[in-house]
Amino acid sequence: MSINRRNFIKSLAAASSVSLLTIPTSARAAGSGNNKGKVVVIGGGFGGSTAAKYIKMMDPAIDVTLIEPNKTYTSCPLSNEVLSGHRDIASLQTGYAGAAKRGISVIHDHVASVDAAKKTVTTSGGQTLGYDALVMAPGIAFDYEAVSGYSKDASKLLPHAYKAGEQTLLLKAQLEAMPDGGTFIISVPPKPFRCPPGPYERAAQVASYMKHHGKAKSKVLILDANDSFSKKGLFEQGWKALYPGMIEWVSGANDGKVERVDAAAKMCFTGLNDHKADVINLIPPHRAGKIAQQTGLTNAQGWCEVAPMTMESTVHKDIYPIGDCCIAGELPVYDMPKSAHMAITQAKVAAGAIVAKLNGLANPQPWYVNTCFSTLAPDYGISVVHVYRVTNNQFVYVKEAGGISPIDAPPLQRKLEAEYCVGWFNNVMADAFA
């Protein structure tokens, strides 16, 4: 491959200093007919969409194809607010016009197979695309069989609502239909799962609905396979202040792990107890998305291990698993949390590594950061943030930085964080999809 270093630097400068709207259409649309290389991105969520966009922004001469089955994307972040009624699901949705405008080819289809040796991707529709680099961002797959009696069909009766959209609305409809004094169970799978504080934020949003819609005698029961959870002290403080007596958490050690369900009877069975509920939100255990498993990228626990300098798979060269499907570092503190913020950050690292490689340049310094807000009420937000460095190819968090919101914070901090969460959401949606 011939390298034109000057043009590459120019395009980098353009991407970082000039508004994208001012890059000539000819440059943005430069797609086929060049030899800079081809990138295929599987999955158009936060991670995949960001990777496609940033590769195109950094070097418009690279061919980028995004393969995503859905024409509308529904954000999981903030989707718990649909349950409380504080947010409409349409506010979480976007299409792929932004990607198309940048000159990214968007194919709405499933991926049937990846041939890592031949470096090709074949869609369900039978189209085969070659790649120089493949971004693998399929998100998660549910391990339905891990909970006896649960299945994809049963998820219509006991919604997981852990892929936002139809499932979110299904759970909301069940919440609206439940009687005052009823029980709403949230069953939390063993770690790791996407959005670690998600189930606990959900408990607050569900309680908020109950409190404000004539169901204040109802109860949220969290049956947890784990013995602790993200921002636990902050959540317990918030639950108590906002929804006293409405939310109960049962740890794994206290028989919280749901092992079996009877979907028709609305029953959950833990080791020692039977729980009857009006609504059961059954979140099954996760693994990396099916295509990542099928491509042989996953470890024994079902996740794609990556090299943190580049986000490249440790199994197959030139494949970059990003977002919820990947794992790096050691649990519990060094791992990459499965959040939208992290997925976007990983996408930018992968994009930088791919663009440098296709241009024959040295790998740029990777930067990782995570910010994760949870909203317990419209004026009550909390967060956890972490800054990471890559040292000797190890992914480590900077101990002096990051952490959770202070437990003794004044009320204004909680309000600020709730407002910043919305501002964060608007910016990440634009960063990934606009």
Binding site: S17, L20, G352, S383, K399, P410, G423, N427
Partner: protein
């Protein structure tokens, strides 16, 4: 123990590696998540930062890092970066063009704002263009963000620096907080 050692290595090596000219091109991309591409935010509560003065940006980030100034989130993040990296970020964002926020404002509030900014204009100017480099530019900034900043200065529970700003913010009538923010948000230059 091994982890702890790696950690020390990371922290002590970082300033050496980045002492000359930190490579913040990738770091800047991670700031986009909340502050938008080129520092142009589309979230009403998040400030646009592209085109603000280098002195102001460096000051405020340093105050957050040291804890001299309250922050809900930024301090926790900035403790993860070296002083050189923070300086490079300030330089980078100061060189971006300022793009006024695309926002819809209440016409009545904007009109009320003209009188509400009496206490603000001596430092921030009539249109939000300050005389001094260490004062933030307010012209066309997000109104909601400015209201929240005023709320921070008006709340004694938060540790905010700058006595003059605290005093003046507290003297504003409650009804004038949104009006003053709307006034500056409505300015084009």
């Amino acid at each position: 123990m091994k982890r702890a050692l790696l950690f020390c290595a990371a922290l002590s090596a970082a300033p050496l590696i980045h002492a000359a000219e930190p490579d913040v091109a990738g770091l800047v991309k991670s700031c986009n998540n909340c502050h938008g591409v080129n520092g142009v935010s589309v979230g009403h509560s998040m400030p646009s930062i592209g085109g603000l003065s280098e002195t102001y940006l460096l000051n405020i980030m340093t105050q957050w890092k040291t804890g001299e100034r309250f922050s809900a989130v930024m301090g926790r993040l900035l403790k993860g970066y070296t002083d050189q990296e923070i300086a490079a970020l300030a330089t980078h964002y100061s060189k971006q063009p300022w793009v006024p926020a695309a926002q819809t404002l209440d016409v009545k509030l904007v009109a009320q704002g003209k009188d509400a900014i009496d206490r603000c204009s001596s430092c921030h100017g009539d249109t939000g263009v300050p005389d001094e480099d260490d004062t933030p530019r307010l012209t066309g900034q997000w109104a909601q963000y400015m209201e929240l900043e005023l709320a921070k200065y008006r709340d004694d529970a938060l540790k905010m620096p700058h006595k003059k700003m605290r005093t003046n913010a507290k003297k504003l009538d409650e009804a004038d907080v949104a009006a003053a923010a709307a006034h500056y948000a409505s300015q084009k230059k």
